[in-house]
Protein backbone atom coordinates (compact mmCIF):
# COMPACT_ATOMS: atom_id res chain seq x y z
CA UNK A 1 0.00 0.00 0.00
CA UNK A 2 1.17 3.53 -0.68
CA UNK A 3 2.04 5.64 2.33
CA UNK A 4 1.26 9.33 1.95
CA UNK A 5 4.25 11.60 1.45
CA UNK A 6 5.47 13.36 4.60
CA UNK A 7 8.17 15.96 3.97
CA UNK A 8 11.17 15.96 6.29
CA UNK A 9 12.46 19.29 7.48
CA UNK A 10 15.71 19.90 9.31
CA UNK A 11 15.69 23.07 11.38
CA UNK A 12 18.87 24.71 12.64
CA UNK A 13 17.76 27.02 15.46
CA UNK A 14 19.92 29.50 17.35
CA UNK A 15 19.54 28.73 21.04
CA UNK A 16 19.00 32.34 22.19
CA UNK A 17 16.08 33.41 20.02
CA UNK A 18 14.63 30.78 17.72
CA UNK A 19 15.13 27.67 19.86
CA UNK A 20 13.60 29.63 22.73
CA UNK A 21 10.82 30.67 20.36
CA UNK A 22 10.15 27.02 19.55
CA UNK A 23 10.04 26.27 23.29
CA UNK A 24 7.61 29.13 23.67
CA UNK A 25 5.33 27.54 21.07
CA UNK A 26 5.46 24.45 23.27
CA UNK A 27 4.69 26.15 26.57
CA UNK A 28 1.80 27.93 24.83
CA UNK A 29 0.69 24.60 23.29
CA UNK A 30 0.55 26.12 19.81
CA UNK A 31 0.34 23.01 17.61
CA UNK A 32 2.30 22.60 14.35
CA UNK A 33 3.00 19.65 12.06
CA UNK A 34 5.53 17.09 13.37
CA UNK A 35 7.67 17.24 10.23
CA UNK A 36 10.55 19.32 11.61
CA UNK A 37 13.60 17.92 13.37
CA UNK A 38 15.33 20.66 15.31
CA UNK A 39 19.10 20.92 15.70
CA UNK A 40 20.20 23.41 18.35
CA UNK A 41 23.12 25.71 17.57
CA UNK A 42 24.49 28.60 19.64
CA UNK A 43 23.99 31.11 16.82
CA UNK A 44 22.64 30.98 13.29
CA UNK A 45 26.13 32.18 12.38
CA UNK A 46 27.38 28.74 13.46
CA UNK A 47 25.54 27.08 10.59
CA UNK A 48 28.13 26.33 7.95
CA UNK A 49 26.34 26.13 4.57
CA UNK A 50 27.92 22.69 4.28
CA UNK A 51 25.30 21.45 6.76
CA UNK A 52 22.48 22.71 4.57
CA UNK A 53 23.91 21.09 1.45
CA UNK A 54 24.55 17.91 3.42
CA UNK A 55 20.94 17.80 4.59
CA UNK A 56 19.68 17.97 1.02
CA UNK A 57 22.26 15.43 -0.14
CA UNK A 58 21.04 13.10 2.59
CA UNK A 59 17.50 13.52 1.35
CA UNK A 60 15.90 16.30 3.38
CA UNK A 61 12.85 17.81 1.68
CA UNK A 62 13.34 21.17 3.34
CA UNK A 63 15.92 22.95 5.45
CA UNK A 64 15.20 25.79 7.85
CA UNK A 65 17.77 28.09 9.43
CA UNK A 66 16.34 30.35 12.11
CA UNK A 67 18.04 33.02 14.18
CA UNK A 68 17.51 36.24 16.07
CA UNK A 69 16.20 39.21 14.10
CA UNK A 70 19.07 41.23 12.57
CA UNK A 71 20.24 43.66 15.23
CA UNK A 72 19.15 41.40 18.10
CA UNK A 73 21.89 38.79 17.76
CA UNK A 74 23.06 37.62 21.18
CA UNK A 75 26.54 37.65 19.67
CA UNK A 76 26.03 41.13 18.21
CA UNK A 77 26.88 40.35 14.57
CA UNK A 78 26.31 36.64 13.99
CA UNK A 79 23.08 36.81 12.03
CA UNK A 80 24.39 39.51 9.69
CA UNK A 81 26.83 36.91 8.40
CA UNK A 82 24.07 34.29 8.32
CA UNK A 83 22.07 36.63 6.13
CA UNK A 84 24.89 37.04 3.61
CA UNK A 85 25.90 33.39 3.47
CA UNK A 86 22.41 32.13 2.74
CA UNK A 87 21.35 34.97 0.48
CA UNK A 88 24.13 33.53 -1.65
CA UNK A 89 23.47 29.82 -1.09
CA UNK A 90 19.74 29.90 -1.75
CA UNK A 91 19.85 30.96 -5.43
CA UNK A 92 22.80 28.62 -5.89
CA UNK A 93 20.81 25.62 -4.65
CA UNK A 94 17.99 26.65 -6.94
CA UNK A 95 20.50 26.77 -9.79
CA UNK A 96 21.44 23.18 -8.93
CA UNK A 97 17.81 22.16 -9.16
CA UNK A 98 16.84 22.38 -5.51
CA UNK A 99 13.83 24.70 -5.48
CA UNK A 100 14.25 27.97 -3.54
CA UNK A 101 11.12 27.03 -1.61
CA UNK A 102 12.93 24.10 -0.03
CA UNK A 103 15.38 26.29 1.86
CA UNK A 104 14.24 28.96 4.31
CA UNK A 105 15.99 31.43 6.57
CA UNK A 106 13.67 32.95 9.15
CA UNK A 107 14.14 35.42 12.01
CA UNK A 108 12.23 34.16 15.05
CA UNK A 109 12.63 35.83 18.43
CA UNK A 110 12.30 34.14 21.82
CA UNK A 111 8.83 35.61 22.20
CA UNK A 112 7.55 34.57 18.77
CA UNK A 113 6.23 31.08 19.59
CA UNK A 114 3.21 31.63 17.38
CA UNK A 115 5.40 32.83 14.54
CA UNK A 116 7.57 29.73 14.83
CA UNK A 117 4.60 27.41 14.55
CA UNK A 118 3.31 29.41 11.58
CA UNK A 119 6.71 29.12 9.88
CA UNK A 120 6.75 25.33 10.33
CA UNK A 121 3.11 24.96 9.22
CA UNK A 122 3.46 27.06 6.07
CA UNK A 123 6.81 25.47 5.25
CA UNK A 124 5.31 21.98 5.58
CA UNK A 125 2.33 22.98 3.42
CA UNK A 126 4.62 24.39 0.75
CA UNK A 127 6.72 21.24 0.68
CA UNK A 128 3.63 19.05 0.46
CA UNK A 129 2.50 20.98 -2.59
CA UNK A 130 5.98 20.71 -4.11
CA UNK A 131 5.98 16.95 -3.58
CA UNK A 132 9.02 14.73 -3.08
CA UNK A 133 12.40 15.78 -4.49
CA UNK A 134 13.60 13.98 -7.55
CA UNK A 135 17.30 13.52 -7.91
CA UNK A 136 19.88 10.77 -8.06
CA UNK A 137 17.94 7.61 -7.22
CA UNK A 138 20.87 6.09 -5.42
CA UNK A 139 22.52 8.57 -3.08
Amino acid sequence: MAIEYQPRIIGFLCSWCSYAGADMAGTARIAYPPNVRIIRVPCSGRVDPLFVVKCFQQGADGVLVAGCHPGDCHYVEGNYHTRRRFALLRPFLDFLGIERERFRVEWVSASEGRRFSQVVSSFTQELLSLGPREGPAER
Binding site: L50, Q57, P70, L88, L96, V105, P136
Partner: protein, 287 residues
Amino acid sequence: MEAIERIRDKARELLESQAVECVIGYERATDNVGARPLFAYEPGEVARFIFDQTCHHNLTRYLRDKKDRTVAVVAKPCDSRAINMLINEKQLERERVFIIGVVCPGMVEVGWSRPSQELQPLCRYCRQHTPVVYDFLAGEPPAEEPEPSPPYPDVAEMEGKSVAERRAFWSQHFERCIRCYACRQACPGCYCTECFVDRLDPLWVGIRIAPGENEMWNTIRAYHLAGRCIDCGACQQVCPVNIPLMLLNRKLGKEVEELFDFQAGLDAETPPPLVTFKKEEKLEADL
Protein backbone atom coordinates in the same frame (compact mmCIF):
# COMPACT_ATOMS: atom_id res chain seq x y z
CA MET B 1 58.45 45.04 -30.29
CA GLU B 2 56.59 41.74 -29.99
CA ALA B 3 55.05 41.02 -26.59
CA ILE B 4 56.99 37.77 -26.34
CA GLU B 5 60.29 39.59 -26.97
CA ARG B 6 59.52 41.99 -24.16
CA ILE B 7 58.68 39.06 -21.86
CA ARG B 8 61.97 37.33 -22.69
CA ASP B 9 64.03 40.51 -22.25
CA LYS B 10 62.39 41.27 -18.90
CA ALA B 11 62.83 37.65 -17.78
CA ARG B 12 66.51 37.71 -18.76
CA GLU B 13 67.04 41.03 -17.01
CA LEU B 14 65.35 39.76 -13.83
CA LEU B 15 67.39 36.54 -13.75
CA GLU B 16 70.70 38.18 -14.61
CA SER B 17 70.24 40.87 -11.96
CA GLN B 18 69.11 38.05 -9.64
CA ALA B 19 66.13 40.19 -8.74
CA VAL B 20 64.15 36.95 -8.79
CA GLU B 21 65.11 33.34 -8.29
CA CYS B 22 62.92 31.99 -11.03
CA VAL B 23 60.60 33.18 -13.78
CA ILE B 24 57.41 31.19 -14.31
CA GLY B 25 56.09 31.38 -17.85
CA TYR B 26 54.99 29.25 -20.78
CA GLU B 27 56.87 27.12 -23.28
CA ARG B 28 55.71 25.02 -26.21
CA ALA B 29 54.53 21.58 -25.11
CA THR B 30 56.02 18.45 -26.62
CA ASP B 31 52.96 18.00 -28.85
CA ASN B 32 54.10 21.18 -30.61
CA VAL B 33 50.56 22.46 -30.36
CA GLY B 34 49.71 23.36 -26.80
CA ALA B 35 51.68 25.21 -24.17
CA ARG B 36 53.05 24.12 -20.81
CA PRO B 37 54.56 25.90 -17.81
CA LEU B 38 58.26 26.70 -17.85
CA PHE B 39 60.21 27.49 -14.69
CA ALA B 40 63.29 29.39 -15.88
CA TYR B 41 66.14 29.60 -13.37
CA GLU B 42 68.91 30.49 -15.85
CA PRO B 43 69.05 33.49 -18.21
CA GLY B 44 69.85 30.91 -20.90
CA GLU B 45 66.39 29.37 -20.63
CA VAL B 46 64.40 32.49 -21.39
CA ALA B 47 64.54 31.89 -25.16
CA ARG B 48 62.13 28.99 -24.61
CA PHE B 49 59.38 31.31 -23.34
CA ILE B 50 56.39 31.66 -25.58
CA PHE B 51 53.13 33.52 -25.29
CA ASP B 52 50.15 32.93 -27.55
CA GLN B 53 46.51 31.93 -27.43
CA THR B 54 47.34 28.44 -26.25
CA CYS B 55 48.80 29.62 -22.90
CA HIS B 56 45.67 29.05 -20.88
CA HIS B 57 47.23 27.69 -17.69
CA ASN B 58 46.90 29.86 -14.61
CA LEU B 59 50.51 29.95 -13.42
CA THR B 60 49.68 31.75 -10.18
CA ARG B 61 48.77 28.26 -8.96
CA TYR B 62 52.48 27.75 -8.34
CA LEU B 63 53.14 30.94 -6.42
CA ARG B 64 52.08 29.62 -3.00
CA ASP B 65 54.62 26.78 -3.26
CA LYS B 66 57.32 29.40 -3.64
CA LYS B 67 55.84 31.92 -1.23
CA ASP B 68 59.08 32.26 0.75
CA ARG B 69 61.14 33.04 -2.32
CA THR B 70 61.01 35.87 -4.82
CA VAL B 71 59.77 34.81 -8.23
CA ALA B 72 58.42 36.41 -11.36
CA VAL B 73 55.32 35.13 -13.06
CA VAL B 74 53.72 35.72 -16.42
CA ALA B 75 50.14 36.68 -15.65
CA LYS B 76 47.15 37.10 -17.90
CA PRO B 77 44.39 39.45 -16.65
CA CYS B 78 42.46 36.67 -14.89
CA ASP B 79 45.69 35.32 -13.42
CA SER B 80 46.54 38.78 -12.11
CA ARG B 81 43.22 38.78 -10.24
CA ALA B 82 44.26 35.51 -8.63
CA ILE B 83 47.35 37.26 -7.31
CA ASN B 84 45.22 39.96 -5.68
CA MET B 85 42.96 37.26 -4.24
CA LEU B 86 45.94 35.41 -2.75
CA ILE B 87 47.40 38.60 -1.29
CA ASN B 88 44.03 39.49 0.21
CA GLU B 89 43.88 36.04 1.79
CA LYS B 90 47.40 36.52 3.17
CA GLN B 91 48.78 33.63 1.13
CA LEU B 92 51.23 35.82 -0.75
CA GLU B 93 53.35 38.91 -0.15
CA ARG B 94 53.17 41.43 -2.95
CA GLU B 95 56.86 42.25 -2.71
CA ARG B 96 57.81 38.58 -3.19
CA VAL B 97 56.31 38.31 -6.66
CA PHE B 98 57.27 40.27 -9.77
CA ILE B 99 54.29 40.32 -12.09
CA ILE B 100 54.96 40.26 -15.82
CA GLY B 101 51.49 41.23 -17.01
CA VAL B 102 50.42 40.28 -20.50
CA VAL B 103 47.59 41.85 -22.43
CA CYS B 104 45.35 38.89 -23.26
CA PRO B 105 43.78 38.28 -26.67
CA GLY B 106 41.73 35.43 -25.20
CA MET B 107 42.65 31.77 -25.26
CA VAL B 108 41.62 29.18 -27.85
CA GLU B 109 40.72 25.51 -27.52
CA VAL B 110 43.73 23.38 -28.22
CA GLY B 111 42.91 20.40 -30.39
CA TRP B 112 45.11 17.40 -31.17
CA SER B 113 46.92 18.57 -34.26
CA ARG B 114 46.43 22.35 -34.26
CA PRO B 115 44.84 24.99 -32.08
CA SER B 116 41.25 25.73 -33.11
CA GLN B 117 40.40 29.25 -34.22
CA GLU B 118 37.55 29.27 -31.72
CA LEU B 119 37.96 31.41 -28.60
CA GLN B 120 37.28 29.45 -25.42
CA PRO B 121 33.67 30.16 -24.29
CA LEU B 122 34.86 31.80 -21.07
CA CYS B 123 37.11 34.21 -22.98
CA ARG B 124 34.16 35.39 -25.02
CA TYR B 125 32.58 36.84 -21.86
CA CYS B 126 35.91 38.22 -20.58
CA ARG B 127 35.81 41.75 -19.18
CA GLN B 128 39.51 42.26 -18.51
CA HIS B 129 42.00 42.14 -21.35
CA THR B 130 44.61 44.04 -19.34
CA PRO B 131 45.98 42.73 -16.03
CA VAL B 132 44.60 44.51 -12.95
CA VAL B 133 48.02 44.47 -11.28
CA TYR B 134 51.52 44.12 -12.70
CA ASP B 135 55.08 45.36 -12.36
CA PHE B 136 55.76 45.20 -16.07
CA LEU B 137 53.33 45.03 -18.94
CA ALA B 138 53.88 43.23 -22.25
CA GLY B 139 51.56 44.14 -25.09
CA GLU B 140 49.35 47.09 -25.85
CA PRO B 141 46.27 47.48 -23.63
CA PRO B 142 43.02 47.94 -25.60
CA ALA B 143 41.50 51.43 -25.64
CA GLU B 144 38.57 50.23 -23.59
CA GLU B 145 37.37 46.98 -22.06
CA PRO B 146 34.28 45.37 -23.56
CA GLU B 147 31.15 45.19 -21.43
CA PRO B 148 29.32 42.02 -22.50
CA SER B 149 25.65 42.40 -21.71
CA PRO B 150 24.38 40.39 -20.03
CA PRO B 151 27.79 39.83 -18.37
CA TYR B 152 26.82 36.21 -17.64
CA PRO B 153 25.02 34.92 -20.76
CA ASP B 154 25.91 31.29 -19.98
CA VAL B 155 24.45 31.54 -16.46
CA ALA B 156 21.41 33.45 -17.71
CA GLU B 157 20.66 30.70 -20.21
CA MET B 158 20.79 28.04 -17.52
CA GLU B 159 18.59 30.15 -15.23
CA GLY B 160 16.04 30.21 -18.03
CA LYS B 161 15.54 26.44 -17.72
CA SER B 162 13.05 24.84 -15.34
CA VAL B 163 14.21 23.53 -11.98
CA ALA B 164 13.55 19.99 -13.16
CA GLU B 165 15.65 20.55 -16.27
CA ARG B 166 18.48 21.98 -14.18
CA ARG B 167 18.18 19.07 -11.77
CA ALA B 168 18.43 16.58 -14.64
CA PHE B 169 21.28 18.51 -16.24
CA TRP B 170 23.43 18.50 -13.14
CA SER B 171 22.58 14.95 -12.10
CA GLN B 172 23.80 13.53 -15.38
CA HIS B 173 26.96 15.64 -15.16
CA PHE B 174 27.67 14.79 -11.52
CA GLU B 175 27.09 11.09 -12.16
CA ARG B 176 30.06 11.22 -14.52
CA CYS B 177 32.40 12.83 -11.99
CA ILE B 178 35.23 10.45 -11.15
CA ARG B 179 36.36 12.60 -8.21
CA CYS B 180 39.94 12.92 -9.51
CA TYR B 181 40.08 16.42 -7.96
CA ALA B 182 42.06 17.76 -10.92
CA CYS B 183 39.80 20.84 -10.74
CA ARG B 184 40.99 21.42 -7.20
CA GLN B 185 44.65 20.95 -8.09
CA ALA B 186 44.44 23.44 -10.95
CA CYS B 187 42.66 26.14 -8.96
CA PRO B 188 44.75 28.96 -7.45
CA GLY B 189 42.08 29.37 -4.76
CA CYS B 190 42.09 25.74 -3.59
CA TYR B 191 44.98 25.65 -1.18
CA CYS B 192 43.56 24.19 2.05
CA THR B 193 46.05 21.94 3.82
CA GLU B 194 43.31 19.37 4.06
CA CYS B 195 40.36 19.70 1.71
CA PHE B 196 36.96 19.04 3.30
CA VAL B 197 36.43 16.23 0.80
CA ASP B 198 39.46 14.36 2.12
CA ARG B 199 38.36 14.48 5.73
CA LEU B 200 37.08 11.32 7.35
CA ASP B 201 35.90 13.02 10.54
CA PRO B 202 33.69 14.91 10.00
CA LEU B 203 32.80 12.87 6.96
CA TRP B 204 31.30 15.62 4.82
CA VAL B 205 31.52 13.55 1.66
CA GLY B 206 31.26 9.76 1.59
CA ILE B 207 34.12 7.88 0.03
CA ARG B 208 31.85 6.08 -2.45
CA ILE B 209 31.84 7.50 -5.96
CA ALA B 210 28.05 7.85 -5.85
CA PRO B 211 25.89 10.55 -7.46
CA GLY B 212 24.87 12.05 -4.14
CA GLU B 213 28.42 12.20 -2.84
CA ASN B 214 29.67 13.60 -6.15
CA GLU B 215 27.00 16.26 -5.99
CA MET B 216 28.11 17.20 -2.48
CA TRP B 217 31.70 17.53 -3.63
CA ASN B 218 30.95 19.60 -6.71
CA THR B 219 28.53 21.84 -4.84
CA ILE B 220 30.88 22.64 -1.98
CA ARG B 221 33.92 23.00 -4.24
CA ALA B 222 32.09 25.78 -6.02
CA TYR B 223 30.65 27.28 -2.83
CA HIS B 224 34.10 27.48 -1.26
CA LEU B 225 35.05 29.71 -4.20
CA ALA B 226 32.08 32.02 -3.75
CA GLY B 227 33.36 35.59 -3.89
CA ARG B 228 36.86 34.22 -4.58
CA CYS B 229 36.73 32.68 -8.05
CA ILE B 230 38.60 34.91 -10.48
CA ASP B 231 37.08 33.39 -13.59
CA CYS B 232 40.21 31.81 -15.09
CA GLY B 233 38.50 28.54 -15.94
CA ALA B 234 41.47 26.37 -15.00
CA CYS B 235 39.21 23.87 -13.20
CA GLN B 236 36.99 23.31 -16.21
CA GLN B 237 40.00 23.22 -18.50
CA VAL B 238 41.44 20.18 -16.72
CA CYS B 239 38.21 18.26 -16.05
CA PRO B 240 38.65 14.87 -17.78
CA VAL B 241 34.89 14.29 -18.02
CA ASN B 242 34.02 17.84 -19.12
CA ILE B 243 31.73 18.89 -16.27
CA PRO B 244 30.85 22.57 -16.85
CA LEU B 245 32.36 23.58 -13.51
CA MET B 246 32.65 27.24 -14.44
CA LEU B 247 28.89 27.42 -14.80
CA LEU B 248 28.67 26.76 -11.05
CA ASN B 249 31.46 29.19 -10.21
CA ARG B 250 30.01 31.87 -12.44
CA LYS B 251 26.51 31.49 -11.01
CA LEU B 252 28.00 32.35 -7.62
CA GLY B 253 30.08 35.08 -9.24
CA LYS B 254 26.91 36.58 -10.71
CA GLU B 255 25.08 36.48 -7.38
CA VAL B 256 28.06 38.02 -5.56
CA GLU B 257 28.26 40.80 -8.12
CA GLU B 258 24.52 41.49 -7.97
CA LEU B 259 24.10 41.21 -4.19
CA PHE B 260 27.37 42.71 -3.00
CA ASP B 261 28.71 44.55 -6.04
CA PHE B 262 31.96 42.63 -5.76
CA GLN B 263 34.28 40.87 -8.20
CA ALA B 264 37.12 38.82 -6.75
CA GLY B 265 40.69 39.98 -7.18
CA LEU B 266 40.09 43.39 -8.74
CA ASP B 267 42.17 44.73 -5.86
CA ALA B 268 43.94 43.21 -2.88
CA GLU B 269 42.29 45.31 -0.16
CA THR B 270 38.49 45.11 -0.41
CA PRO B 271 37.32 42.42 2.02
CA PRO B 272 35.49 39.64 0.15
CA PRO B 273 31.70 39.56 0.70
CA LEU B 274 31.65 36.58 3.03
CA VAL B 275 34.02 37.99 5.64
CA THR B 276 32.13 41.24 6.08
CA PHE B 277 28.58 42.65 6.11
CA LYS B 278 26.52 45.82 6.19
CA LYS B 279 23.99 46.22 8.99
CA GLU B 280 21.58 48.14 6.78
CA GLU B 281 21.77 45.90 3.69
CA LYS B 282 18.44 44.42 2.58
CA LEU B 283 18.87 40.74 1.75
CA GLU B 284 15.70 39.30 3.22
CA ALA B 285 14.21 39.22 -0.28
CA ASP B 286 16.76 36.54 -1.13
CA LEU B 287 16.11 34.48 1.98
